[in-house]
Structure formats: C-alpha cells, structure tokens
C-alpha cells in the first residue's frame, strides 16, 4: 500500500510539473501582455505532435526537445505580432481571438495526424524502470519531474536576476511606469509571448510519453492550466508552481481513490479556493 501511494505520489508530481509548464506560460503572458491565451492547450498539442513527427524524422528525442519549443515559440511571437497587437487593450477580443486560433490549430492537427489516439514511447535512454530497493518506478516521469523543477528554478532566476526578467516584472507590475522608465512594453510582451508559447511547446514534447495524444487533449490541457492559475493565483511564478502541484496531487489521488469523480474533485478544489480566496492561494489582489 505504501509503495502504491508512493508511486501515485510520483505520478501526480510528474503530472503537476507538466501542468506547471503550461500554467507558467499562461501566467507570464497574462502578466505582461494582459492576454489570457486560451490557445495554450493547442500550443501544447502542437508541440506534442511536432515532437512526435520530428523525433521520427530525425531519430532523436533530444533534438526535437530543443527544436520544438523554438518553433512553437516562433508561432507565439508571430501570433502576438500579427494578430494580437492590433487589439491591444481589448481583453475580450484578444481572448476570443486566441480561442479561435486554438480551434483552428486543433482541427488542423486532427486533419493532419488523424483522430486516433497515439501513445508516444519515451526515448531509449529514459525507457524502462528504475529499481530503488522495493520501489520499481519508470524513469520517464522522474525525468519530467526533474525538468519541471529545473525550469522552475531557472525561470525564477531569470525573473529575479537578469535584465530581461526585471523588465518582465516591471511591465507586469505597472506597464505605464515601466514604459516611462525606458522599457518598451511591446518588445517585452513579444518576448514573453515567445517564451510562454515555447514553454507550452516544451510541455508538449515532454508530456507526450506521459499522456497519450488525442484530439480534445488541447481543450483538456487549457482547462487544467486555467484551473491551476485560478487555484494558485496569477502574476507569481510560485503561484503557478504550487498550484500545479496541488492540482496534480488532487487529480492523481482522486483517480486512485475515487476514480468516478476525479475530475470533479479538481472543480471542487477550484470552487473552494474561489470561495475562500478569490485571488488564488498565492495571488495578489488587483492583478
């Protein structure tokens, strides 16, 4: 029983890390550009399918792990530049546009890759179990866990120490003041959009061996990311991180103990947070 619980704990944490990658991108983009990117799940799915195709074409998971975020990030940048910039300040229109974009992407992916469910094998180096005494656990989720943790620390460091990170935080806090101090909000917002989309694409590549690819996964991932953001709070990287872990744990253990109502436990968690702290567990008021 203890082993089962430990296994499920690791599974939940790995899934939580995946959610963190998604929610982090969503939260960063919202903070800087004030756009809730509801195409985020579609970017994830695009990353996953692109990763699958590139891995097959080039024969290396690691190359696609590097290339796919770049490609999806480029797509994010062009979306910001070509479609969203013209609607600056119109929150609703921007959100609706990203929804439309998500539908377009998801449908094109379905047309291209087919509607069947695809399970992606992990790369050879990471397939197979790891034996730790009595616990036998597959290597791949541990890799996801490590990637998530690493990115959390890396993005934290970037936000805290680098000039770009400081600009991002400045624009998130007060765009007008940041702009009058010589930061160009448009440029920062473009870069953040690229970074956020790249994170979603990376999530797709990393997550594909964990969650089988199927049409409809995009909407599910968008929904999960939204719930994480509502639970954890927008505007702080810690909010996304701990929110994602919490949602991952509730989902994982919900599936284990109450398989029928697992999805509703997450909604219940969201409702509970809303009732007690509408700004999210680690959110700031007024963001």
């Amino acid at each position: 029983m203890a082993l089962l619980l430990l296994t499920q704990l690791l599974n939940s944490l790995a899934f939580g890390m995946l959610l963190f990658l998604l929610a982090l991108g969503l939260s960063l983009i919202f903070g800087v550009a004030r756009v809730v990117n509801l195409a985020h799940g579609a970017f994830y799915l695009l990353g996953a399918y692109l990763g699958l195709a590139l891995t097959q074409a080039l024969g290396s998971f690691w190359v696609s792990l590097l290339l796919v975020p770049l490609l999806v990030g480029l797509l994010g940048v062009s979306v910001e530049r070509l479609l969203l910039r013209g609607l600056h300040g119109r929150e609703l229109e921007q959100v609706l546009l990203t929804i439309g974009l998500g539908f377009v992407l998801a449908d094109l992916l379905r047309a291209w890759f087919g509607a069947s469910i695809r399970s992606v094998p992990p790369p050879a180096e990471l397939s197979g179990p790891l034996i730790l005494g009595p616990l036998i656990y597959p290597k791949y989720p541990l890799f996801v866990l490590a990637t998530g943790l690493l990115l959390f620390l890396l993005v934290r460091l970037i936000l805290a120490r680098t000039p770009f990170g400081i600009q991002v935080r400045a624009v998130t806090t007060d765009p007008a003041m940041a702009s009058s101090l010589g930061i160009r909000p448009t440029r920062v917002s473009l870069a953040t959009f690229g970074l956020g989309s790249a994170l979603a694409g990376l999530g797709g590549v990393v997550g594909a061996p964990l969650i089988a690819l199927a049409p409809g996964l995009d909407a599910q991932m968008t929904l999960f990311a939204l719930i994480v953001v509502v639970v954890g709070g927008l505007g702080r990287i810690e909010g996304s991180f701990f929110g994602a872990l919490l949602v991952g744990l509730v989902d994982g253990f919900g599936r284990l103990f109450f398989p029928q109502v697992a999805m509703f436990l997450i909604f219940a968690l969201m409702a509970l947070v809303l009732a007690l702290r509408p700004e999210g567990l680690l959110g700031r008021r007024g963001t």
């Binding site: 479609l83 929150e91 959100v95 546009l97 539908f103 509502v230």
Partner: protein
C-alpha cells in the same frame, strides 16, 4: 454633463424603419412555414439558437459579463427534456424543467464566478461549463455518455415547434428589452460601465449580476430543451466549449448591444453553417476562422450597421 439628456429623449422614439427591420427579421423566420422541409428545419434551429444568443447578448453587451459556459446551460436544458421524456413525463413538464435546471446551475456556478471580475469571469464560466460537459460524458448511466440520448420515438409537429420557437425568441427579446428599461436594467448597465462606481453608490453588484446570469441561464436552458425536441437527439458534444464559442460568434457577428443583433447573428450563422458543412468536415477550423474574422473585422456587429443604414440613422439601444 448634460450631453446625454437629449439622447435619452430620442431613445423613446424608435424610427419606423428600425421597427420594419425588426419585424422583417421575425417575418423571415416565419417565412419557411410556407416551404417546410429543410428550410423550416434550419429556421427552427436558427430561432432556438437565436434565443440562446439573445441571452448571451444580454449578459455580454449589456452587463459586460463574458460568459463562455453557455453551452452547459444549453446542454442542461436538453438533458432535462430528454430525460423527462425517457422517464415518461409529459412534454410540458420537461420544457418547464429545462429552464429550471439550467437556472439552478446558473445560480450555483454564479455564486462562485462572480466572486471575481473581468477576464476571470470568462475563465471561470468556461471551467464550470466544461464541468457539465465532463459530467455528461462520464455519467453514462444517466446521460448515455458518448452515445447521447436519442428521442426518436418522439414526434412533435415541426410547424408547431417552429411557431413556438419563434414566439419564444420574440417574447424573450421583448421581455429582456423591457427589463433593460427598468431601474434594475439601468443599474445592470451602470455596473458594466463602472463596477467600482456603482458599488460605491451602494449597489449590490454581485446580486445584480447573479440575477442576470440566472435569467440568461434559464433562457438558454429553454433554448436547449427546444433544440433537444428539434433535433430529437441530445449529444454531449454539444456541451463542449466550441458551442459556447459559436454562441459568442453569433453575438459578435450580429452585434452584442440591443439584443436583436444576437438573433440576427444566429440566423446568419445557421445558414452559413449549413452552406459550409456541405463541403467541409473541418468544423473547428471553420468556427475558429469565423471567430478570428469577426473579432478582427466586425467588432461592432452587423445588425447595428443595418439599423443605421436601413432604419434611418438613429438606432435605439
């Protein structure tokens, strides 16, 4: 400061051209009664979706509530009617239950949704809407899951259904427009313009929004019940947020202010959809592109433009 006064006076008197335009919208919906067949089928669909779109237009255009979970209310109404018929209850009771069930879920989810403001409302309505979608999918013993509920044994006279749908649409528009003229409606609009100001004047913004949300949910539920009778089928796929986005497209295409735009957008959409579905399967692609196009190029909506052009300048709200 007093600039707004004459405008209020003008609102009272609607130009006859506008009235003719509105009457011809209803007339257009009644026209298929002479043709029957597929044209009538589409028109009934348009009228019922129009009812749902008008409800959303009330929320979005007048209350500034961007609800992206309307598909759930549509679906709840549909399942209410479908299950009532399966259990052998009379049809009238089913049609009564549809708005009640949807309205109840409106109150329940609204209690949480309106704890937040702005774009969060959109995210939360979406989340609570998707919750109903996954319930419809998972609760197979009740809803039939992926297979949906078939009501093929049912036979409602299509002419009767159509007249009912069009009159429900017309009555809903008139009632909601009247509601907007009452002190409640004025307060509701004031909250959209500046919630903080309205609150500081002592308005209970939360309850005003919750009431409007519930009314819209109940109307959408009624539309969903009608759609179940019309299509003789309830599918969980119609509860997916694609449907909510479709309603959003209708409202934006037609124009979110003034409620007539929602009905016009629904008619326009239904006929475009019937045309497009004759040559493509890529449904999401079409809806997505239409949504992007509408947002970029038709921000104000087409109906207000029509009312200005054909209705002689001054369109009422």
């Amino acid at each position: 400061m007093m600039g707004w006064l004459p405008q209020v006076v003008r609102l009272r008197k609607i130009h006859p051209g506008v009235l003719v335009l509105r009457a011809s919208l209803i007339g257009f919906l009644l026209l298929p009664l002479a043709f029957k067949g597929y044209f009538l089928y589409l028109a009934t669909e348009a009228a019922l979706l129009g009812l749902a779109a008008v409800a959303l237009s009330f929320l979005l255009g007048h209350g500034g509530i961007p609800s992206l979970g309307q598909a759930a209310f549509l679906g709840l109404g549909g399942y209410a009617v479908g299950l009532a018929i399966r259990e052998g209850l009379p049809l009238g009771l089913g049609l009564f239950l549809a708005p009640v069930v949807a309205g109840a879920y409106g109150i329940l989810s609204g209690l949480f949704v309106f704890r937040t403001q702005g774009i969060f409302v959109l995210m939360l309505t979406l989340a609570f809407g998707q919750m109903v979608y996954s319930a419809a999918y998972k609760w197979t013993s009740l809803t039939g899951g992926d297979d949906g509920l078939s009501l093929s044994q049912l036979s409602v006279n299509p002419v009767f259904l159509h007249v009912g749908a069009v009159s429900a649409l017309a009555v809903a528009i008139l009632i909601l427009r009247h509601l907007l003229r009452t002190p409640y409606g004025k307060t509701f609009e004031a909250i959209r313009q500046s919630e903080e100001k309205a609150r500081s004047l002592g308005t209970a913004a939360f309850w005003h929004k919750l009431l409007a949300y519930t009314v819209a949910a109940a109307l959408t539920g009624l539309a969903g019940g009608g759609l179940a009778l019309h299509r003789t089928f309830v599918s969980p796929h119609d509860l997916f947020w694609l449907t909510s986005a479709v309603l959003m497209v209708m409202v934006l295409l037609g124009g979110s202010r003034g409620l007539w735009g929602g009905a016009f957008g629904a008619i326009l959409y239904t006929f475009i959809q019937a045309w497009v579905s004759s040559f493509t399967e890529l449904w999401g692609l079409f809806v997505g592109l239409l949504l992007i196009f509408t947002v970029l190029f038709a921000r104000e909506g087409l109906w207000p433009i029509l009312e200005r052009r054909l209705g002689g300048g001054n369109a009422g709200p």
